[in-house]
Symmetry: C2
Amino acid sequence: VTRIACQQLAPRLGDLEHNTAMTVTAIRVAVDAGADVVVLPELASSGYMFTSTAEAAEAAIGRDHDLFRSWAEAAGDAVVVGGFCEIGDTPDTVYNSAVVVDRTGPLAFYRKTHLWDAENTVFTPGDDAPPVVETRAGRIGVCICYDLEFCEVTRSLALAGAELIAAPVNWPTVERPAGEHPPEVVIAMAAARTNKVAIACCDRDGIERGQDWTRGTTIIGSDGWVLATAGEGGLVVTDVDLTAARDKRISAHNDLHADRRPTLYQL
Amino acid sequence: VTRIACQQLAPRLGDLEHNTAMTVTAIRVAVDAGADVVVLPELASSGYMFTSTAEAAEAAIGRDHDLFRSWAEAAGDAVVVGGFCEIGDTPDTVYNSAVVVDRTGPLAFYRKTHLWDAENTVFTPGDDAPPVVETRAGRIGVCICYDLEFCEVTRSLALAGAELIAAPVNWPTVERPAGEHPPEVVIAMAAARTNKVAIACCDRDGIERGQDWTRGTTIIGSDGWVLATAGEGGLVVTDVDLTAARDKRISAHNDLHADRRPTLYQL
């Protein structure tokens, strides 16, 4: 089995120094708890509630930034997937990105391709598909928050062989009926079950410029059921059999991926 | 608003006469309750637990069968969507089909394209995509049971303009954690919310050749939350604003369908 940890943190808006120290500590704590994979929230390096591209650019970093070296050093034998605010080639190009890091450094970067609400006024959407990354902990698919709500994204990752989908998220609070999971969790549960793939969503904590968050960190098994949620604490840890994702059979006559009828879909 | 009714029935295996009377009564009861749309279970004309194509063929009917005239007469001002066992051009070609009927007769037929488990040993899969049908009660997309678990199906129906997805189903009981919806309902909730479209799943009742059913009939709103479930009774009725499906905007900057990035999906 593979031990998955999510660290539901509260970054300080625009405070890279604080957020670096906080995330490095969070990675170390998770690694000490035996984590093979550590997932951090969306925009963990920067916070979320920017009101302009210029403000986000102030907090944005390049792919050669020391933050990733710090994460790599803290990772030990684990793999870290976390969100950060990425500067592009020009100061008015800022991405809502994620990185996959192990002790050797960054293995892959990804720029969020489906931007939520006011993110559209701050960030540039990425133009590359969410990646599946070969890591020492297995094949990890990466997407960010609103990306998860496009079944095409999770399906594409699963078809490409993801054994775990790791999703840094920042879920603003929304109303839901009593007894229900957050809507984003329902969507992730469906994606997990219909693709037989585990999904780890790492949400954030804290209130930022008046915005509260769902604090809905959830790790879902390849059968679609919730294995662990944030509850009160920030660290969520559970063991998952990632190898289950390699076999999409779910009955004597059914295989979730082979049963698809692509010629009948009008997408 | 549109009043949606599901009639969670217990067909008798292979007993067309009984099942005709039962479904006609069920339609009348739903229409008397003010239903604009009446959904019946999968294979309502025949029952489900056939062990061979030959046995299913005995219970199968053609598209000109009197059953549909009886349903049309019972429909009044409503639209009926129900499952039936359809004979093909040869006795060894049997389909797990659905029909959309109003007072004028059948408006559309559909043959299940994703067959579940032993259905693969009994039925021939359909080769036409699930349809969206213009009806007096709105644009109704139709699919059957396991079809629902392919997000491409519900997405395709929603993209084609479905205001309601009506799904005759037969859900065999499966284990689920306490407090959770049946897994098929979780999947339908996600499809409803990510497409902003209402979904009505009509399950069945009774035990057939030892097989028990979830009795999980559920009507879901375009926000993805459950509006009504079967509970104890067979008739489930709720009012739904189907026009909500015409506008896929969910924030000042987001539209669930326009936000898709088809060039990035590897499906």
